[in-house]
Symmetry: C2
């Protein structure tokens, strides 16, 4: 039995900001994740992995070293591997993220805010 995933139902169950949860997997290699964002995250980079953000609701600002992107619902961006970025949501923002299973939450640095893959894989 194959089940569909209703993103609104999943977002309603998310209990914390900046704590992505996996809602789908492709080929055991890439993950689709949802996250509720509010406030400023942290500057980081993923040395070897691109990262795709799609805004579902709210507004996402992504600071880059030499530009700033502002995304609304239905807008997406791919942050290339190795590019420093800092996601910011002035009000609560819901995003869908696609990235490799190996992509670390806060990239090349580990912080108190860093969520492990196991944490992100908890069923929701």
């Amino acid at each position: 039995m194959i089940s569909k995933i209703n993103l609104a139902e999943k977002f309603a169950k998310l209990d914390a900001h900046w704590s992505p949860r996996v809602v789908g997997a492709l080929d055991d290699a890439y993950l689709a994740k949802i996250a509720k964002l509010k406030g400023s995250f942290t500057w980081h980079q993923h040395d070897h992995e691109d990262e795709l953000f799609l805004v579902i609701s709210g507004q996402l600002i992504i600071e880059l070293e030499d530009q700033k992107l502002t995304l609304g619902p239905g807008e997406m961006v791919v942050i290339p591997a190795g590019v420093m970025h800092n996601p910011i949501a002035e009000e609560e923002c819901h995003v869908l993220v696609f990235e490799k299973k190996s992509t670390a939450h806060t990239g090349s640095k580990t912080l108190a805010a860093t969520k492990s893959l196991d944490d992100q894989l908890r069923p929701i």
Copy 2:
């Protein structure tokens, strides 16, 4: 310079049904595609690749051999590799698809309706 992608603007430029166009790439391995669907596509399977559909607008029916899924906006599904499926849209439906760069449009069969990767990669 990194640019955001506005899906509504891209969908407005799509000129044909069942003709996916690439709007983003991850690690030169996976592609994000948009497609306008209307009518019934064709039964097919991707032998070695999972495929993710996210409905942006309209309603998508995915017939499987032993079940039928009906997805509305904000709903997604992963069709596992090797599973026969037939997408149907009774009215026009807009979808975002994530799949491997190697995934063939109509899977293991080539039809008149089959779009090549080069066709799907035309800038939009």
